[in-house]
């Protein structure tokens, strides 16, 4: 389902497929001109230290700086996001795409039973520590917010976003 991503959900590692460039024709024209087009994947790399401006990588690996209003105006299909993102819908299945961070972090997550490729669910968003339900083993684990930030999940086929 295509949606506009609210400004507050524009976080690093969010990824989506652009469906429409937004209603402002001038901006749309300019985006298209530079090769940011409907159908392209767009992934947020980082937010500027002062906020407001974001760096994205589009399609075949081109990096751009954009303002968040311009991205928020686009219609997108969300593909991936950090586990803490407000885009994550409670009670839905997500697949772990990447565990950011070093070896220690991976090992710690593995001990908890979290690995890349696993299916997870988040039940009560907004709570700390962060409760995560492991779909395959049926177990529930609790993660710190910092840990959950480093877990990037993707939307599964037939899931809520598709």
């Amino acid at each position: 389902m295509s949606q506009q991503i609210p400004v507050s959900a524009l976080q690093a590692q969010c990824e989506c497929i652009i469906r429409s460039l937004g209603s402002d024709e001038k901006t749309a024209h300019r985006l298209a001109q530079m090769g940011i087009l409907p159908g392209n994947h767009l992934r947020i790399i980082r937010i500027a230290p002062l906020g407001g401006t974001i760096e994205v990588v589009v399609g075949q690996g081109q990096n751009f700086a954009l303002r968040q209003e311009e991205v928020a105006a686009m219609l997108c299909d969300v593909v991936a996001m950090p586990l803490v993102s407000e885009l994550v819908i409670a009670g839905q299945n997500y697949r772990i795409r990447t565990l950011l961070g070093g070896k220690t972090f991976r090992r710690r997550m593995e001990k908890q039973g979290l690995q890349e490729g696993d299916l997870v669910q988040v039940n009560n968003t907004g709570e700390k520590p962060f409760p995560v339900h492991l779909v395959e083993s049926g177990e529930d684990v609790e993660l710190g917010e910092g840990e959950a930030k480093k877990i990037i999940v993707e939307v599964t086929a037939g899931g809520p976003h598709s």
């Binding site: 024209h29 001109q33 530079m34 500027a48 002062l50 407001g52």
Partner: protein, 669 residues
């Protein structure tokens, strides 16, 4: 008999960051000239070189992503191609990033004009193991494709040979095919047929014209054929309704699809690896906590590099000119001249030359450091970091650096606005730079605060003046934005290029050309300004210079009612006229006017409050003739130059008035 060389025009077009300028320098060497494209502050560079029996004019078009105009630069390139198509097109693409460049290449190839494509940075591409197959590209595009490295000079002879071949045997070019959705293709065909039928005289391919017509909002501006433009408008409306996207977006989509396909074929489906160095460097330079401190550190280095090195050199040159001037004043042929002529030669002409020369080290250093920052790719990062701050003025982050450098000297800072990405940013920034407290003004403030305030208070006054200058820049920015001066802000979409090692050759080239440019464009203006001031101060001949009998004195007295409410007497007004040459002269000017040699005698003539009002006026009014000359040279617009002069004077007057009257009201005197 030697045949007269035939002159031909080649247009060099490419997307930004593809090494276009390096190639331009490579081909034309020293024979370059710069100007502006008519009506906009977009730089126009052209150069010449000889190719066999032909003399070639090479036009460096602004870097653009496509021919469908979304920015002023793109409008310039678009109009150029449609109104005065060049004899040959030379297009450059980055070998490591074919996909990005090929969109424009396809558009250009469709024009039907003879064309040569260079695949640039082939040496770096080889190092990364991503070498495109130029044969495949050439086959698809229907034009010669040459591997080159503008940096090392590799492939340049082959490129010249290919251009020569194209001139000698133009032949019929075969425009490439670009598949679009059937509906759009049908519209192209229908419109092209109409264009052919209307027998529009153009060297451009009818299908190319049809594409431009369908993407253009105002085709009647370049095609005087109502019948065709009406059909185009109707077709566009139908298409946009059916496809539910605007034509420029739909066309960009088919262009990039074609480019993607062509890239895959040319690379034999080998994926392009990402640049690991840029990724690592960005993790540091754009880091959430470390990024900004590094930025400010680099800005400090930049500032120190330009002004720490430049200002002493500037002073050195000034003292050389002073020494030579006093030597000249004593030699026989000069002393034999009438006194007024001596004064004109030494204080008018010689002084003017001194002012012009004193900017040379600053401008050279400024552009050396700016090129380093720009060519390395850090400029885009700086723009990213500072964007939020400048966004409120409708400017992007690059403008921050220009304005910051104004705090050293306004002249190079104004010249540096040409690196900004949009016409709006350039105009806004060059109008804001004059409100920055440059080092010349700082000299006045240091001097006046030292004689009017206690040593403990003086630094605070200077600090307040700096604070007020920041405030002036921001408030003026908001006012100018309100009046839409310079058009509307452009949406900020900036490519972040990979980091690159700057080339000493091109950095040197740049500095040298900017200097040449400054001397040819601004020097006359500065000389005229300085001499004008000389006349005001020294005429009529029998009057004491700068006295109440001189023209400047008359002018000062005529304006006395205007300046009186600011607490500025006619004598100080004359000093402000002096300040038009260069702010450094204001103090000396005051001394001359009050007829003393010791400027500290000033305390007997004006109060501390009046001095403060005078300083505020100095901070805000027209910086100096050189800045005005630079604004004029950059904008080529009398309107913008006049706005700069006017806004400075009005803002200065209001500020001093409010300050002085409020202080009087509160009982200070």
């Amino acid at each position: 008999m030697v045949p007269t060389p035939e002159s031909l025009t080649i247009a060099l077009g490419a997307i930004p960051n593809s090494g276009k300028t390096t190639l331009f320098n490579r081909l034309t060497g020293a024979s370059q000239s710069t100007g502006n494209w008519p009506g906009v502050s977009v730089e126009k560079k052209s150069g010449s070189f000889v190719l066999g029996e032909y003399s070639i004019t090479l036009i460096d078009l602004p870097g653009t992503y496509a021919l469908s105009p979304a920015t002023k630069e793109e409008q310039v390139v678009h109009d150029y191609f449609l109104q005065s198509p060049p004899d040959i097109i030379l297009n450059v693409v980055d070998a490591r990033n074919l996909y990005r460049g090929l969109g424009l290449t396809l558009q250009l190839a469709l024009s039907g004009l003879p064309m040569v494509v260079c695949v640039n940075m082939i040496d770096e591409a080889r190092r990364q193991g991503v070498v495109p197959d130029v044969k495949v590209l050439s086959q698809h595009l229907g034009v010669p494709v040459i591997e080159i490295s503008a940096k090392t000079g590799e492939g340049i002879p082959e490129l010249r040979a290919a251009l020569y071949e194209v001139i000698k045997h133009p032949g019929k070019t075969r425009p490439p095919h670009m598949s679009c959705p059937p509906l759009i293709e049908k519209a192209f065909v229908e419109l092209a047929e109409n264009i052919t039928r209307a027998e529009i005289a153009s060297r451009l391919d009818p299908t190319f014209l049809a594409m431009r017509l369908l993407e253009d909002d105002r085709p009647q501006q370049w095609l005087q054929n109502d019948q065709v433009t009406t059909i185009a408008r109707r077709l566009r409306q139908q298409l946009e309704q059916t496809l539910k996207t605007s034509m420029p977006v739909a066309c960009a989509d088919c262009r990039f699809n074609a480019a993607r396909g062509l890239t895959l074929e040319a690379m034999h489906r080998q994926p392009v690896p990402e640049d690991p160095l840029s990724k690592t460097l960005d993790r540091i330079f754009l880091h959430r906590w470390v990024g900004l401190p590094i930025f400010f550190l680099l800005m400090l280095l930049l500032f120190q590099g330009v002004y720490g090195l430049g200002t002493p050199l500037q002073e050195l040159l000034a003292s050389v000119f002073d020494l030579a001037g006093s030597w000249l004043a004593q030699i026989k042929p000069v002393t034999a001249l009438p006194v007024w002529l001596q004064s004109f030669l030494l204080e008018g002409l010689w002084q003017g030359m001194a002012v012009v020369t004193s900017f040379i080290p600053l401008i050279a250093l400024f552009f050396i450091f700016m090129s380093l920052i720009e060519d390395s790719g850090y400029m885009a990062r700086a723009a990213f970091l500072m964007d939020r701050l400048m966004h409120c003025l409708g400017l992007d982050g690059k403008a921050f650096i220009s304005i910051l450098l104004g705090y050293g000297c306004n002249v190079p800072a104004v010249m540096g606005t040409r690196i900004l990405s949009s016409n709006y940013s350039r105009v806004m920034t060059m109008l804001l730079i004059p409100f920055t407290l440059c080092t010349a003004r700082l000299q006045i403030f240091i001097f006046l605060t030292a004689i009017f305030f206690s040593p403990a208070a003086a630094p605070w006054i200077i600090f307040l003046l700096y604070g007020f200058s920041f405030f002036a820049v921001i408030s003026m920015g908001l006012v100018l934005k309100l009046f839409n001066i310079g058009g509307r802000p452009e949406p900020f979409i900036m490519e972040i290029p990979p980091y690159r090692l700057p080339l000493v050759r091109s950095v040197g080239f740049r500095a040298w050309h900017e200097l040449k440019d400054f001397l040819s464009r601004a020097a006359t203006f500065i000389m005229v300004g300085v001499m004008l001031v000389w006349f005001l101060i020294h005429m009529p001949i029998d009057a004491q210079p700068a006295s109440d009998a001189s023209w400047a004195g008359h002018l000062g007295q005529a304006f006395a009612p205007v300046f009186e409410p600011l607490g500025i007497g006619w004598q100080e007004t004359v000093a402000l006229i002096f300040g038009f040459i260069a702010k450094e002269i204001v103090i000396g000017g005051l001394a001359v006017i009050y007829g003393g040699t010791d400027p500290a005698l000033l305390t007997g003539h004006i109060s501390a409050l009046q001095a403060m009002s005078f300083m505020l006026f100095c901070l805000l009014y027209t910086p100096c003739v050189a800045t005005i000359a630079a604004i004029w040279a950059e904008s080529r617009s009398i309107k913008i130059t006049a706005i700069s002069l006017g806004s400075g004077l009005v803002f200065a007057w209001i500020t001093s008035f409010v300050f002085y009257q409020a202080a009087l009201f509160l009982g200070f005197h």
